[in-house]
Structures are given as structure tokens and as C-alpha cells.
């Protein structure tokens, strides 16, 4: 894992001192809210419905036990004893008071963390495959590159006041778990003739105008990455729409100018920018790679795992659902669900955080990840340790066997917290999870991704959910639109809008009708929801969602 050097430490300390001073000047009235707001946003501090919210970056979703324990400490000391993990691999504290925020930032700095550029019109926290460095299907670990991008983008003088925010995601695997096609820039590590490079995807994004990103170059040599990224952001920074916030993201720029024209402008800019990179970035990258050396994997008997798997059905169910293939023999990637049925998706209490920190240290080579699907990952666990790990997780309500299933729901905070929201998301997620748990159907239903956003900004990724739910305010009543057939992976697709929205009390029965339709129409148990949808299209599901339309037509 990356550890801060003296430069990083002094940079963060200086920045935190500046922000402490800015907070003081806001409190004594020297700064107006208009002056203070861009400053607090650059440091991750929002004002939400009921309180301030501090969004802390978990760079490319990676943290160690000590950092997780510090997040728990902060939750207890300055918040209400929990934190919310987000779809961009951040953690949000929902209840800080303004005066305490500088102390919270200092506490984060103690463990090499910060909240810089988690908001504002800047390059945000770079997200990555949460299985990075562990997955069996990976070409290369994307995290050294992600760290390089973080170092380059943090406080980059050209990119502090851009038309809008800018989000970059990177994956080192052909199976895209980082939603690269729905980011301003998505990077896929590829190899060509034995040389490492990137496929660069530009102009993806969800929100008001969802777009799947377009390939601007299918092979960028590794050493050209930073000058090329700088060129893309620079071109957009110049021609991106500053007149209209809803047209300011690069997806609109790409859409309006066309990918060919953007490619031409970027190439032109690249010819100028490239010369200003002396090669120090490649020296740094080589250094960062040493920070992410794989742990010393051990070889030991898997007998304990096999015994538990055969004798304990609860363990077996969890193992079948929450484990993924690891590149090292005898190891598994463990996804810890923080989606217990009826709980708030993505929320972890301080006790749960401390337990996960302990378990990472005891069994997981001291590594944890946060997934964009709002779960916590222990990327390197030997199979012989899984029964003990599972038993410990049960104690804190962390052993729910539902990864990838219908109750593993992404939900944004919605109008329970967010000042931008138009409806609530959390109670909808709670109801759906509870309902399908009661029906004891979710393992039979299999892989099905429900994603819920409480407004059109789509933090809950509803456009790319197999079932997407968007909460809106319809004449003063919460109303939920359903989209079907979305896909967030390497075969990314924006879901199809089914039709009129549903009031909250109509929604869960409507989702149930969609699921019943799938169960009735799938060829067999191996055909997943998304496959049945692709085979049959919207029609049968639409008919199930709107039986009254069928009745009218009859």
C-alpha cells in the first residue's frame, strides 16, 4: 500500500492548517458563505439537509487496518458512531459540526488520509477495481497508476476551477468492476505486442444525460498516460460549457463536438504537453509499484475450509455467495456485505469498522477495500482462515450471504440526508431487501443488481442497474421511475425506462412482478436476469409492471 512520504505529510499538514484558518474566518464572519463554500467543498465538506457532511477519500478504495480503525474513532468522537461508504469508494460522515472538522482532518492525516478534492469542480478521488492486486482475471494491478494519477491531480494548478467535477476510474482486468464506461475518463489496462498500455474511454457519465463513454484511443503507451490525461482535461477545461451546469460535464462536450474532433484537439494539445513531462512520472510510477508489491502468500492446508464447507450450511451459503477467485493458490477474495437485510446500504458502525480492521490484520495481510457497490472487501484471505473469519463476522451482523443478489442494493443517501435529492432511497432499499428475504427467494433469483438514486444526478448508478430506480418529486409526492436492463460492466448499457413512475407503496409489488416474470420466463436457473432481459427485451417486463395497461388494451 502507498504510504505518505515527507512531502505528502507536509502538504496535507499545510492544507489542513489553511482550512482550519478558513473555518475560523468563516465563524468570525470575515468570510461569507459564498466565499467559504468553494473552500469547504475542495476539502470535502458539504452542508446537507440536517447537518454538515464530510466526505473522506479512500484512494482507489484501498485502506489498511489502522486507517479503518481511525475511521471508526472519528465516527465515535465527532459523528454518531457510523459512516456511510459510497459508490465512489469514499466514506461520508453525516453529522459533523463545523468547528470539529479541522480536528477530523488532522485525525485523518495521522493515518495518511484526507478529504481533498472529494467535492468541487476538481478531479475527484480516482476509483479502481476493488479486487485490484488479488483477482484471478487481472492483467496488472491498477493501483500504482491510480496513485500516480492521484499525485498528479491533487492540487493541480490548472484543474482547480473547472467547468464541473471530473471523475476517473481504472481497471486492470478485462472484467470491468470499476464502471469505467460511466466515468469522465475510464482507463482499461491492456497489452499490445507485450507492451503495457491503456485503452482510454472518454465522456461516459450518468446523471441527467446518461452516456456510455467512447474510446478515444485503443492503445496509449504507459509512459504517455499523464501527458495524455492532462491533454484531455485541458481541452475540456477550455471548451467545456461553463454557461450551463447541466451541460458542463465532458460527456456533453464529447457529444456536442464529436469524438473525432475531441481526439484531434487532444492530439494537438498532447504534442505540446508531452514535452513538459521530463519522465519523472515514470520514475515515480516505478517507485509506487514497490508500494503495491503482493503480500507473501503462504501455502497451507485447506482442510479446515473443506470441513466447514461440507458440515456448515450457513458457512457454505456465505462461501458460495461472498467469495471470489484469487490469483494465488489457496486464497479467496472475501466480500463483506454491509447490506444486511433491512439495514442502510453502505453504512457501517464503528464496532463493525473495528472488527473489519482486526480481521484484516489477523487474516487479510492488513488490507481492506471499499467497493463501488458499497461493500467492504478483504482481498487476500487464505481459505483455511475463512471459517474463523465467518464466525467473527457473524458476531457483528456482517456475515450476510447476499453479494450480487437482489438485496445487495446500491442506494445513495437520498432525501434522508442529501440536499440535492428529490426523494428518499434508503427506505426503498430496506423494503426491497426485507421483502425478498421474507420470500426466501433471493438465492433462487441469483445475480440481480438493483441500483437506486434519489435524484437525477444518479449517485446510485440507477441507469446501469439491472433494475434501476430513480426517486423523483411528482407534484409533492415521492415517485419512483423504473429502468430495466442496465449494465455497469465491460458490456455497459444504459437501462430502458419502463414507463410511468410508481408511488412508494406501489413500488415493491411492482419490482416483485418484474422478478416473478423473470422467474417464469428464464430458460433455466443458469440464465441470469440480465440475460433473460437481453433475450426477451422490455415487453414482458413492461406488461408485468403495468398490468392495467394490458387490461385497458384487452
Amino acid at each position: 500500500m502507498y504510504t505518505y512520504n515527507d512531502f505528502d505529510k507536509s502538504f496535507i499538514a499545510t492544507r489542513n492548517a489553511q482550512f482550519r484558518d478558513q473555518v475560523e474566518r468563516r465563524i468570525d464572519g470575515s468570510l461569507t458563505e459564498g466565499e467559504f463554500k468553494p473552500l469547504r467543498l475542495m476539502n470535502g465538506l458539504y452542508l446537507q439537509l440536517h447537518a454538515y457532511m464530510l466526505r473522506v477519500a479512500i484512494p482507489y478504495g484501498t485502506l489498511n487496518g489502522g486507517q479503518m480503525r481511525q475511521l471508526a474513532f472519528i465516527a465515535d468522537k465527532w459523528d454518531k458512531g457510523y459512516g456511510h461508504f459510497t459508490t465512489r469508494q469514499n466514506i461520508q460522515y453525516n453529522w459533523p459540526e463545523l468547528r470539529d472538522v479541522p480536528d477530523m482532518l488532522d485525525a485523518l492525516a495521522e493515518v495518511g488520509m484526507h478529504a481533498i478534492q472529494t467535492s468541487g469542480n476538481t478531479i475527484r478521488n480516482v476509483t479502481a477495481d476493488h479486487f485490484a492486486g488479488a483477482s484471478a482475471d487481472e492483467i496488472a494491478d491498477p493501483r500504482p497508476v491510480a496513485e500516480l494519477i492521484r499525485q498528479w491531480s491533487t492540487d493541480h494548478p490548472e484543474f482547480q476551477f473547472m467547468p464541473r467535477k471530473f471523475k476517473i476510474a481504472i481497471t486492470g482486468s478485462p472484467n470491468d468492476r470499476a464502471v469505467t464506461r460511466a466515468h469522465d475518463i475510464g482507463l482499461r489496462m491492456v497489452e499490445k505486442d507485450g507492451e503495457a498500455g491503456f485503452e482510454v474511454i472518454v465522456g461516459g457519465g450518468l446523471g441527467r444525460t446518461p452516456m456510455i463513454g467512447k474510446v478515444i484511443t485503443d492503445f496509449l503507451p504507459q509512459e504517455d498516460l499523464l501527458p495524455y490525461l492532462e491533454s484531455v482535461v485541458s481541452v475540456w477545461n477550455q471548451i467545456g460549457r461553463r454557461d450551463n451546469k447541466y451541460k458542463a460535464r465532458i460527456k456533453i462536450t464529447v457529444h456536442e463536438h464529436g469524438i473525432e474532433e475531441i481526439r484531434r484537439l487532444v492530439d494537438e494539445r498532447f504534442a505540446i504537453v508531452k514535452g513538459s513531462f521530463s519522465g519523472i512520472d515514470q520514475v515515480r510510477l516505478a517507485e509506487y509499484k514497490t508500494h503495491f508489491a503482493p503480500p507473501d502468500f503462504v501455502v497451507k492446508s485447506e482442510a479446515v475450509f473443506k470441513d466447514a464447507y461440507h458440515s456448515d450450511p450457513v458457512f457454505r451459503s456465505w462461501a458460495d455467495t461472498n467469495l471470489s477467485a484469487h490469483k494465488a493458490d489457496g486464497y479467496s477474495i472475501v466480500s463483506i456485505s454491509i447490506k444486511k437485510h433491512g439495514d442502510t446500504p453502505g453504512d457501517a458502525t464503528s464496532d463493525q469498522m473495528r472488527l473489519m480492521a482486526d480481521l484484516a490484520e489477523a487474516y487479510g495481510h492488513n488490507e481492506l477495500r471499499i467497493s463501488h457497490e458499497q461493500n467492504v472487501i478483504l482481498p487476500h484471505v487464505h481459505k483455511s482462515d475463512l471459517p474463523a473469519l465467518h464466525a467473527a463476522l457473524k458476531e457483528q451482523g456482517l456475515a450476510t450471504a447476499n453479494i450480487g443478489l437482489i438485496s445487495d442494493i446500491i442506494a445513495c443517501p437520498g432525501m434522508d440526508y442529501c440536499a440535492l435529492a428529490t426523494a428518499r432511497s434508503i427506505p426503498i432499499a430496506q423494503e426491497i431487501a426485507t421483502r425478498f428475504d421474507d420470500l426466501k427467494l433471493e438465492h433462487d433469483i441469483g445475480n440481480l443488481k438493483i441500483k437506486i438514486s434519489g435524484c437525477i444526478n444518479a449517485c446510485g448508478h440507477h441507469h446501469v442497474g439491472h433494475i434501476g430506480i430513480l426517486g423523483l418529486d411528482r407534484a409533492g409526492v415521492e415517485n419512483y421511475q423504473v429502468t430495466l436492463g442496465g449494465d455497469h460492466t465491460e458490456t455497459a448499457k444504459i437501462g430502458d425506462r419502463a414507463g410511468r413512475g410508481f408511488e412508494a407503496h406501489e413500488l415493491v409489488p411492482a419490482i416483485e412482478r418484474v422478478v416473478d416474470t423473470y422467474l417464469a420466463l428464464r430458460t433455466d436457473k443458469d440464465e441470469e436476469f440480465i440475460e433473460t432481459y437481453r433475450r426477451l427485451g422490455l415487453a414482458p417486463f413492461k406488461a408485468a409492471l403495468y398490468p392495467e395497461a394490458q387490461a385497458d388494451a384487452a
Partner: protein, 98 residues
């Protein structure tokens, strides 16, 4: 034809705590029941300006609609109802102390 003026309350968030507050005749309250009810448009605009000037104490000042149940103001939109109560997933916010 101008729309008839409906009763309003000046609301904001407290600068230090960040929580929801309502304007009274003499200051601010955390309880909607104690808020000053504004039934005259010109007076409401004036009170909004006065509230907005208190930059060292409050943030995000605006006029919210209320309905009058007797003399007590009630929220008319679900967003204001949540602001007045707190989130639905935990007993936090105003409902915590109520």
C-alpha cells in the same frame, strides 16, 4: 394575475451545527412550532433579507411554505417534513431530542 400569498416561515441551517433552524420575531428556533409565521408578502421578503444578513450565524436562508393548523405551522412538502424531523433510517436529527 398574481398567485395569492401563502403563509411562510424563514428557515436556514445553523452555521456551527448545520442543523435546521427557523426564524422567530427575535432570533432563531430549532422548533417549527415556535417560528414566526409570515402572512404578508412584503413583510416576508423583509424578514428573509434580515435573516440572510446574519452571515456569521446562519447558512442557506429561504422562505418555506407552511400550512396553519390553528396557529401552529405545519410543513406542506415532504422535504420540509424530513428537515423538521430527521432521517427515516435512524432516530437522529430533531426526532432524537423530541
Amino acid at each position: 394575475m398574481s398567485k395569492s400569498f401563502t403563509p411562510k416561515v424563514v428557515t436556514a441551517n445553523d452555521l456551527l451545527k448545520g442543523d435546521v433552524i427557523y426564524q422567530t420575531a427575535t432570533g432563531w428556533t430549532r422548533d417549527l412550532a415556535d417560528a414566526e409565521i409570515l402572512t404578508d408578502e412584503a413583510h416576508a421578503d423583509l424578514r428573509l433579507i434580515e435573516g440572510s444578513q446574519q452571515i456569521a450565524d446562519v447558512v442557506g436562508v429561504y422562505l418555506m411554505d407552511v400550512a396553519l393548523d390553528g396557529t401552529a405551522p405545519q410543513t406542506t412538502h415532504f422535504r420540509e417534513a424530513f428537515r423538521a424531523k430527521g432521517p427515516s433510517n435512524y432516530v437522529h436529527g430533531k426526532q432524537e431530542v423530541a
